[in-house]
Symmetry: C2
Subunit: 126 residues, 2 copies
Amino acid sequence: MHRSRLYGLFIDTPRDEAPAAAAFWSAALGVAARPVPGEEQFIALAGAHPALTVDVQAVDDAPRYHVDIETDDGAAETARLTGLGAVEVARWLDCHILRAPGGHLLCVVPIHTDPEFFAAHARTWP
Amino acid sequence: MHRSRLYGLFIDTPRDEAPAAAAFWSAALGVAARPVPGEEQFIALAGAHPALTVDVQAVDDAPRYHVDIETDDGAAETARLTGLGAVEVARWLDCHILRAPGGHLLCVVPIHTDPEFFAAHARTWP
């Protein structure tokens, strides 16, 4: 048995345009834009949404959004989602990067939110 | 003075693949997938997140996500966001479709959530 929940929205932006994107989304959503210490490609927009993490991420790729699913068991959650038709396209540290049926990117990541919030909102899978 | 908040995540999917995408996301997030009456290009994933509307949308375009910002004044919110650097690229009914600095699509839409929830979570702009 393991648990997971839709955790984050990432505004993946070509590296050169990431500062402009962070400035826009910061002003658009009314929150500060702050680089994540140790992972400076992520610019956190803390407070942009009451129950969803929103970051700008600088990438070497075309602009896109992706979503993160946080889980207490990355291998089990990845197996569950690939069993539903997603394809694992990459690994990055302890994140599994999948492409869903229909073509969208999602990442399976360890629990990032407060454990009590996770416990209250995650779904349990057999 | 007007108000707005980040309201929705839309999984825009090429029309032919939208049923497979809806089936995947429904199972992945543990919720039903139901067409929105009168707007059958939208397949609602109600309950996918406690405070964010999540839909699959069938589109005649490449797969992408987009976000919606709901507001009590679409013209004022669109003017605010274009003033921050976004470009209005289309209109669809009472929705303003914008491209943000960095290249991401967002839509400005009328209030869709419960008015009390909107009032509790929206930001106020001068």
